[in-house]
C-alpha cells in the first residue's frame, strides 16, 4: 500500500463530486444561463448543468468564465453562456458559483486531508501496537522459557548438592574407616611382633631338638642300647611319627614365618593406605601406590585373573597420598568386579606432559552407551540391590577432582573398558586450595 503523503496534489475532480456542484450549476442556469459547466485546468468539462447536457458543449463567443482556486492556484473555471438579455445576471451567478466552488473545494480538501492524515495515523499506530504486542508476546515467551529452564536448573543444582552431600558423607566414612584401620593395624602389629619373633626362636629351638633326635637315632643304629629299650624307643618314634615331623618342621616354621610376614605387610599396607596423615602433601610414587593398592585388595581379585602391569617411569606426584590410594582402589576394584572368570586387567602408568596418566583396562562387558553419563554419579550402580553401593566410582572421581585431576571412561570398540586417571605432577590443582 502506497502511503499517503501529506501535501500530495489533488485534482478538483478528486475533491468535489458532481452531486455537490450540481445545485450551484442549476442556480446559474436558473439565473438565465443557456449553458454552464465547470472546466479543469486543461479546459476539460468536469461537470455541466443538466440542460446543457452535451458532452462537448459548443464554445461560443458569448461565454464568460470565472476562476476556481485550490490552494491559491487556479485549477479550473466556471464557464457560462447567457441567453439574450440575461448575460449580466448570468455573469453574476457564474461569479458567485465560481467562488462557491472554490470555497467548497477548500473545505472538501480540508476534510480529505484531515481524514487521510487521521487514517494514516491510526493505521501506523495500529501497526506499532501490533508490533509492540508481538514484542511483548516474544518477551513473555522468553520469560516463560526462562522460568521453565529455571526449574530445570534448580533441579540440577539440587541434584548436585545432593551428590556433594553424599560425597562428603562418604569421605567422612572413609576417614573413620581409615582411623579404624590404623587403630586395628596398631593393635595387631604388637602381638604380631611377638609371634614373628617367637616363631623364629621356636624354629631355632626345634632345630636343636631335631639335632638331638638325629643323634639319638644314630645311637640306635649302632646298637648302643639294650635291645628291649631300643625297640621301645623305635616303636615310640614310629607311633609319634617323629621322622615325618622332623621333615615337616622346617616347612611349618617357614610357612608360619611367611604367614606372619604377610600379616605384617598387610597391616603395614593398611596403615599406609588409610593415611591417617592424609592432610600433608607428599611426594607420591605412583607405581608404589599401585602395588600397595593391589596388595590391599588382593583377596578381591578373582582366581585366575591375569594382572598385567606396564608402569613406565613416572616422576613422583606432589599430592595427598590418601586420595591417590582412594582413587586407585576404586578403579581397581571396579575392574576386578567386571567378570568372574577369564578376567584380564592391564594397569598402565606413564607421564604425559605435566600429568601422570594411570589407565586401568579390563576385558569386561564394557559400559552401555546409555549409562555412560551416569557412572560417576553417587548411588548409581549396575549391581544388584545390596551388592553395590554405587559409591566407588563417584568417590574415585571426587578424589581425582580434589587432586586437580580427572577420571574418564573410554569404551574401546573391541569391548571392555578403560578408566583413565590423570593427575597433575606438580599437585598445583585444587589440592592446595581445599
Amino acid at each position: 500500500m502506497i502511503d499517503f503523503v501529506v501535501g500530495e496534489e489533488r485534482a478538483l475532480a478528486e475533491i468535489l463530486s458532481a452531486g455537490e456542484v450540481a445545485p450551484l450549476l442549476e442556480a446559474v442556469a436558473d439565473a438565465g444561463a443557456s449553458s454552464v459547466r465547470v472546466e479543469d485546468g486543461w479546459k476539460r468539462t468536469l461537470w455541466a448543468a443538466a440542460e446543457s447536457g452535451a458532452a462537448e458543449p459548443q464554445r461560443n463567443a458569448g461565454e464568460i468564465s470565472f476562476p476556481v482556486f485550490l490552494e491559491g492556484e487556479e485549477v479550473g473555471r466556471v464557464v457560462a453562456a447567457g441567453k439574450e438579455g440575461e448575460s449580466a445576471a448570468v455573469s453574476r451567478a457564474a461569479s458567485i458559483a465560481a467562488r462557491a466552488v472554490t470555497g467548497m473545494a477548500a473545505s472538501a480538501l480540508k476534510r480529505m486531508l484531515t481524514t487521510e492524515t487521521h487514517v494514516q495515523v491510526v493505521r501506523r499506530t495500529h501497526g506499532e501496537l501490533l508490533e509492540s504486542f508481538r514484542r511483548l508476546e516474544a518477551s513473555e515467551r522468553s520469560y516463560r522459557e526462562l522460568t521453565e529452564t529455571l526449574e530445570a536448573k534448580v533441579r540440577e543444582r539440587t541434584e548436585e548438592l545432593k551428590e556433594a552431600m553424599s560425597r562428603l558423607l562418604q569421605k567422612e566414612t572413609m576417614a573413620s574407616i581409615g582411623q579404624l584401620a590404623a587403630g586395628v593395624a596398631h593393635e595387631i602389629n604388637n602381638p604380631m611382633g611377638f609371634v614373628a619373633s617367637n616363631i623364629s626362636t621356636l624354629g631355632r629351638y626345634v632345630q636343636r631338638l631335631v639335632e638331638v633326635d638325629a643323634a639319638l637315632e644314630k645311637l640306635l643304629e649302632k646298637g648302643a642300647m639294650p635291645p628291649e629299650d631300643a625297640e621301645n624307643l623305635r616303636s615310640l618314634r614310629g607311633r609319634l611319627r617323629i621322622d615325618a615331623i622332623c621333615r615337616d618342621i622346617p616347612d611349618l616354621i617357614l610357612q608360619t614365618m611367611e604367614g606372619a610376614e604377610r600379616v605384617r605387610r598387610i597391616v603395614s599396607d593398611l596403615r599406609g593406605f588409610s593415611h591417617v596423615n592424609e592432610g600433608e602433601i607428599q611426594e607420591v610414587d605412583i607405581g608404589g601406590e599401585i602395588e600397595r593398592t593391589l596388595r590391599v585388595i588382593a583377596n578381591e581379585i578373582p582366581p585366575g585373573t591375569a594382572v598385567e602391569r606396564d608402569l613406565g617411569k613416572v616422576p613422583p606426584c606432589r599430592c595427598r597420598p590418601g586420595l591417590v590410594g582412594v582413587a586407585l582402589l576404586h578403579l581397581l576394584r571396579n575392574a576386578f568386579q567386571t567378570r568372574r572368570e577369564g578376567l584380564a586387567v592391564r594397569i598402565r602408568a606413564r607421564a604425559e606432559g605435566r600429568s601422570a596418566v594411570i589407565e586401568v583396562e579390563d576385558n569386561g562387558p564394557g559400559i552401555p552407551r546409555e549409562i555412560r553419563s551416569d557412572i560417576f554419579k553417587p548411588f548409581f550402580t549396575t549391581k544388584e540391590v545390596g551388592v553395590g553401593k554405587g559409591l566407588g566410582l563417584s568417590v574415585a572421581y571426587d578424589a581425582a577432582r580434589t587432586l586437580g585431576g580427572a577420571i574418564e571412561a573410554v569404551c574401546p570398540e573391541e569391548g571392555g573398558a578403560v578408566f583413565r586417571l590423570t593427575l597433575p605432577l606438580k599437585g598445583d590443582g585444587h589440592a592446595e586450595i581445599r
Partner: protein, 215 residues
C-alpha cells in the same frame, strides 16, 4: 519533494515548521500569510484545531512561475508539537525539502527544545530524510519575552554546527520572513544542484527568493 513533473512543468515542494508544542509554528505561518503579497500565495488552511492547538497541521501554499514556465508550488506545513501526535509529525515530515525548527527562546523551554530536536532527528531517519543533506534553519522564537537565552549563548553552540540560526518574534512579526528567506535560500541551493533551476529554468537564486518572499 512532493512532485516534479518536467512534461507538466510542475514542481511541488514542502517546507515543514517543526518544534516543541507552543513554540509558535502556526503563528509563523499566520505572519507569513500576512506578510507575503496575495498574488504569490494561497490562503492559510488551518486543519481542525482544539483550544487553538494544532492537532493535524496548517498549510500555506506559495506559488511562483519560473521564466521557463515551470510552475513552482511551495507548501509550508506546521506539525503538531505535542508529544502524543508523533505519528502526525512523521506523516507531515515525509518528503520535506526544507525544515524550520522553531524553538522557544525562554530558558525554561531549553529541555523541551532539545527533546523536540531529538524527535526531529529520529523522525527524519524514520521517514528517510538525510539530516546532513536536508536544508534546515533554526529559529529562536519569542525574542520579545523576558527570561530568554541571549544570542551570545546561542551562537557559540549552533554556529559551529553550520545550521543557520534566525532570531524572531512571530508574535510581533519580525524575523519570520528572514527565517523563511533563509530556508528558501537553502532549498534553492539544494534544488539547483538537482534540477538546475538556473540553467534549465532561468530562475536565479535572487529571483527565486524575490518572487517567493518579496517584502
Amino acid at each position: 519533494m512532493i512532485e516534479y513533473d518536467e512534461s507538466e512543468k510542475r514542481l511541488v515542494l514542502k517546507i515543514v515548521y517543526y518544534g516543541p508544542a507552543l513554540s509558535g509554528k502556526t503563528t509563523n505561518l499566520l505572519r507569513l500569510h500576512d506578510l507575503l503579497p496575495k498574488e504569490g500565495r494561497g490562503d492559510l488552511m488551518v486543519l481542525d484545531t482544539k483550544n487553538d492547538r494544532t492537532i493535524f497541521f496548517d498549510l500555506l501554499p506559495l506559488l511562483l512561475v519560473a521564466p521557463s514556465g515551470l510552475k513552482i508550488k511551495l507548501k509550508a506545513f506546521t506539525v503538531p508539537g505535542q508529544v502524543q501526535h508523533d505519528q502526525t509529525r512523521k506523516a507531515v515530515l515525509q518528503r520535506a525539502d526544507g525544515i524550520v525548527f522553531v524553538a522557544d527562546s525562554r530558558r525554561e523551554e531549553a529541555r523541551n527544545n532539545l527533546e523536540s530536536f531529538s524527535n526531529l532527528e529520529r523522525n527524519m531517519a524514520l521517514v528517510g530524510l538525510d539530516f546532513d543533506r536536508t536544508p534546515l534553519v533554526l529559529q529562536f522564537n519569542k525574542r520579545d519575552l523576558p527570561g530568554i537565552v541571549p544570542e551570545s549563548e546561542i551562537r557559540p553552540v549552533w554556529d559551529p554546527t553550520g545550521i543557520p540560526v534566525a532570531l524572531a518574534s512571530a508574535k510581533e512579526g519580525w524575523g519570520v520572513l528572514e527565517t523563511f528567506r533563509r530556508i528558501a535560500g537553502r532549498m534553492y541551493d539544494a534544488l539547483d544542484r538537482r534540477i538546475s533551476l538556473r540553467d534549465r529554468h532561468g530562475l536565479g537564486r535572487e529571483a527565486f527568493l524575490g518572487r517567493l518572499a518579496a517584502r
